[in-house]
């Protein structure tokens, strides 16, 4: 079993060699009077089809076409290679026709969202690992409901046990809405702990008005708040991990449509001898 570092080195070396070979071939071809754009175009099309096929692979559990994680590694390296091919194909110049401009913009969006996705998939899991146990995204609403019910029960208990409404009023004013759904998506995304501090501080500010029994309940509420904050953090992070694909994948298919038309146009309007 290779270590992660060894795999990274191996992939890096192979990727560099393949990239160097392709660049050398394109460069040598560009020195002659051949249309290098044809060669780079077909290579780019092949890489785009390969990249798009990853989504199909994920939808097909059978037959077992290599592990999905291996596919993903290839997807990443081939995706980076496609950026190089795109630069070679367009000749480091901005297209000035409407159709090609849109197509180039689409490719840029797909590439950028791909890079963003790569960064997210590298950053978010490690951050999630230090914030509580692993939580399935689909189960977050259920867990949130559990926390809400526990918080509600604590609020009821505080009234029943102490005949005081300080905590139940606080719950009704601040915590009911807090436990109802996901909160502070963007703050969690940018690693802000202010939402938790704000609400915990509010709860702690009640301490001077609480008796011992209420303080014990308030401590339990604070624990629930921290758990809810962790759930919100998971919701924001995992939602982002799933959400970027809502941009990346549809744009990929739109790009493929443009590419199909582009290939047709290029061959229909090719000024050469058939």
């Amino acid at each position: 079993m290779m270590t992660f570092a060894a795999r990274r080195w191996l992939a890096g070396i192979i990727g560099t060699l393949v990239t160097a070979a392709i660049v050398a071939v394109l460069w040598a071809s560009s020195l002659s009077i051949n249309h290098t754009a044809h060669l780079s175009g077909w290579l780019l099309l092949a890489t785009l089809l390969f990249l798009a096929s990853y989504n199909l692979r994920k939808k097909m559990p059978y037959p077992p076409l290599i592990k999905s994680s291996t596919w993903l590694q290839f997807h990443i390296y081939v995706g980076l290679l496609s950026i190089l091919l795109f630069v070679c194909h367009t000749g480091i110049r901005l297209p000035n026709g409407p159709f090609e401009t849109v197509m180039a913009a689409l490719y840029a969006c797909v590439a950028i969202t791909g890079i963003i996705g790569l960064m997210l998939s590298r950053i978010i899991p490690s951050r999630l690992a230090v914030r509580g146990p692993e939580v399935l995204y689909e189960r977050i609403p259920s867990f949130r409901r559990q926390l809400r019910k526990q918080a509600e029960q604590l609020a009821v208990d505080s009234v029943q046990e102490t005949n005081l409404t300080t905590l139940s009023d606080f719950y009704a004013k601040r915590l009911a809405d807090y436990f109802r759904g996901p909160r502070d998506y963007w703050r969690h995304l940018f690693q802000s702990s202010r939402p938790r501090h704000e609400i915990v501080s509010s709860l702690r500010s009640l301490n001077r008005y609480l008796n011992d029994q209420e303080r014990r309940i308030a401590d339990k509420l604070e624990e629930l708040i921290e758990n809810k904050d962790t759930l919100d953090y998971h919701h924001a992070m995992q939602g982002t991990l799933k959400g970027w694909l809502f941009v990346h994948i549809p744009l990929t298919y739109v790009l493929l449509l443009f590419v199909a038309v582009h290939v047709w146009l290029v061959h229909a309007f090719f000024g050469g001898i058939r």
Binding site: V25, G97, E138, R139, S142, G272, I273
Partner: protein
């Protein structure tokens, strides 16, 4: 997280189905049912809490699954129905899973994009939409105003469906324009031919070939260049070697290459369509080298067959002028751009000396040459045939031009074929077995005379066209026929003198008795120029009127341009080859050699001949593709007329090997300035790709 939310027991842990299309509508509120919706998005809550009781004997038993709480205590009703008429779990409105939402978004994106593309491509703005960018400024007229006009059809076949109006505006598709000609000649109409609609060239028919040359001619040049390559060229650069390995030229099997291979459009207004770097030039070439300064072959001498008139500068200098008088500007002058040194007209350059005396072969002296056009061969017949024996003084020969005209008579061709002996040349081959052909030859000659006396341009054209194996609309045919018009008067006189009853004979009327040959009252004096009848030999002759005589020039053009250098089975082609050989050959004492060809030599180029009416020009330069602009180099001359700094004359001993007596240019003289960091040393600075600039 400090609270254990996740239940890992197999009975308590929820079973997630993220890959399924529908999820429970209550999942958002954190209490999804265990079964979830069915595949069609319908809530299955009713079936989760109710059972379908099982009957054993006369009793009904609850069979609710353990997952949903197991058999209920009450059991089924006596009628066998479930005791729970209403579902315990409220019915939900199932929602799409995340993956299903993404799939729908993908489908919607594809559908919208497809629709948008169809709308834009099918709409009136399609050409503007699909245009890959603006054209270069030199093609701005084609692009026109942006909008709905389909100017793309001017250059692209694929856009032709609706662009006929725009095509017509630019001459595309007009009968007679280049592409139509190509189509008519059986060649594919590819888009490069559309370029030639505007970019007419002298070599229109071969414009699409590499270097605008027929492949066999280019192969011949490549072979010659490769065989002459110097070993001192040195190896080409690694870059060039790599490019040669990977980049074969994009040419068709027929050796054609699209204009777009080099001239790439839609790169913006300021794109230089003619730019080509040195590596791209060399990648196809047989001899490769690093640069002009490193490895470029030395300049070679211009071969005698490379074009241009014959003129021995060295002999003229030594014999007639001397160093001080032999100034270049006596005969040469720069063109308006100062780029090319032109030869002054004959009257200013040559006529000064060649207007009289022994060396006069252009002015009065040329008039001493007489071209025999028509003379009846001496023939006797067994039968009674209408034939002027008194006029037939031509022994067993016929003039060359008469052979040519007779070759235009289909009826006479078989007889001429038998009478022509390739070994002996043009003289009539009167072998015993050919004696029976005399009446046929006589008839053919009479038909020729009958045609020539009729002032009918169509008849002349038809006969000449057949003799040249071309069409009556060929410009050479038309030009030669036009010259025959001036001979009608003389031909008529000749016919009335020798064959007065020719018309009746041609019509098949019976002609009795020998007609008296009248005296020729109006034969022209033999010393005058133009058409005349020689009363001594009773022949129709032509005396050139001087330099650039029109009949001689048209005749030379006609026969040179319609004669192949290759062996042929066609009897007409063989006639033309023999006639041309006898006319232009110095050894055979050809009439035209002394009159014209001595200076205006005839070159063999592949399978064709070419006559050099003019001095060597740019396109007929050393390699065929070299160019040189004299103007910027004039400043380098230390004296006003010191052309010999570059154009060095050879010594007498070596001059006869050299064309026009000049030594090859010294490359080092050019390379002293044209070097990296100094003057431009790229290929295109001194060479053109096109043998004729479009």
């Amino acid at each position: 997280m400090t609270i254990q939310l996740q239940q890992t027991s197999y009975q308590k842990s929820e079973y997630e189905r993220p890959s399924q299309k529908w999820v429970c509508g209550w999942a958002v509120r954190g209490r999804p049912c265990e079964m979830g919706p069915d595949g069609k998005g319908r809530c299955t809550a009713r079936f989760q809490t109710q059972c379908t009781p099982r009957r054993e004997g006369d009793r009904w038993y609850c069979n609710r699954l353990e997952t949903f709480g197991g058999p209920c205590a009450r059991g089924p009703l006596p009628d066998g129905s479930c005791c729970r008429p209403e579902p315990e779990h409220p019915i939900c409105q199932p929602r799409l899973s995340i993956r299903a939402k993404r799939s729908r978004l993908i489908l919607a994106s594809i559908t919208l994009t497809f629709g948008a593309l169809i709308t834009l491509i099918a709409g009136p703005w399609r050409m503007s939409f699909i245009s890959p960018g603006s054209l270069s400024s030199s093609h701005l007229a084609i692009e026109g105003e942006s909008g709905t006009t389909n100017n793309c059809a001017i250059c692209h076949n694929a856009a032709e469906a609706t662009g006929s109006k725009e095509k017509a505006a630019f001459g595309v598709g007009i009968p007679g324009s280049a592409p139509e000609d190509m189509l008519a000649s059986g060649r594919d109409l590819h888009e490069s031919m559309k370029c030639l609609t505007c970019h007419f060239t002298k070599s229109q028919q071969t414009a699409s070939f590499v270097h605008s040359l027929p492949p066999e001619q280019l192969a011949e040049i490549s072979k010659r260049v490769a065989s002459n390559a110097e070993s001192t060229n040195g190896p080409p650069t690694a870059k060039l070697t790599l490019a040669s390995l990977l980049g074969s030229p994009p040419q068709s099997e027929r050796g054609e290459m699209a204009c777009s291979a080099c001239h790439r459009e839609h790169r913006g207004r300021h794109h230089d369509l003619t730019f080509m770097d040195d590596t791209r030039c060399q990648v196809c070439h047989a001899v490769q080298f690093k640069s002009f300064n490193h490895g470029h072959p030395k300049f070679s001498l211009v071969a005698r067959t490379a074009g241009g008139m014959q003129f021995n500068h060295g002999r003229h200098q030594e014999t007639h002028f001397g160093d001080s008088e032999f100034r270049c500007t006596r005969c040469h002058m720069p063109d308006n751009a100062g780029q090319t040194m032109l030869l002054k007209p004959f009257a200013q350059s040559c006529a000064g000396c060649h207007s009289g005396g022994r060396t006069d072969h252009h002015a009065e002296e040329i008039q001493k040459n007489v071209l025999n056009i028509l003379q009846l061969p001496e023939m006797e017949f067994d039968d009674d045939l209408y034939w002027p024996l008194d006029c037939a003084l031509g022994d067993e020969e016929m003039p060359l031009m008469m052979w040519l005209f007779l070759a235009g008579d289909d009826e006479a061709l078989d007889a001429l074929s038998d009478l022509y002996s390739e070994a002996d040349g043009i003289p009539i081959d009167w072998e015993p077995e050919n004696q029976s052909l005399k009446p046929q030859l006589a008839s053919a000659i009479k038909r020729l005379i009958h045609d020539l006396v009729r002032k009918d341009d169509h008849i002349w054209r038809t006969r000449i066209a057949k003799a040249l194996d071309t069409t009556a609309t060929d410009p050479h045919v038309a030009a030669l026929a036009e010259q025959l018009g001036a001979a009608t008067f003389v031909m008529l006189a000749y016919q009335q003198h020798c064959l007065p009853l020719l018309a009746d004979d041609i019509e098949g009327k019976n002609i009795e008795g020998d007609e008296e040959v009248d005296e020729v009252d109006w034969t022209l004096p033999t010393g005058s120029s133009g058409w005349f009848i020689d009363s001594d030999y009773l022949s129709v002759n032509y005396r050139p009127v001087g330099h650039a005589d029109r009949l001689l020039k048209k005749w030379i053009d006609a026969i040179v341009n319609h004669t192949s250098t290759m062996p042929s089975d066609s009897i007409r082609e063989q006639f033309r080859q023999q006639i041309l050989e006898q006319l232009i050959s110095r050894k055979a004492g050809g009439f035209l050699y002394g009159a014209c060809i001595r200076c205006h030599n005839v070159d063999r180029i592949g399978s064709r001949y070419r006559v050099n009416w003019f001095a060597a020009g740019r396109e007929r330069g050393a390699s065929g593709y070299a160019k040189f602009n004299h103007r910027p180099h004039m400043a380098m001359l230390r004296e006003a007329d010191n052309c010999q700094q570059c154009h060095k004359l050879a010594t007498t001993s070596e001059a006869h090997h050299l064309p026009r007596s000049f030594l090859a240019h010294d490359k080092s003289k050019c390379a002293s300035c044209h070097a990296p960091g100094r003057a431009n040393n790229s290929c295109l600075n001194c060479h053109d790709y096109h043998v004729h600039r479009p």
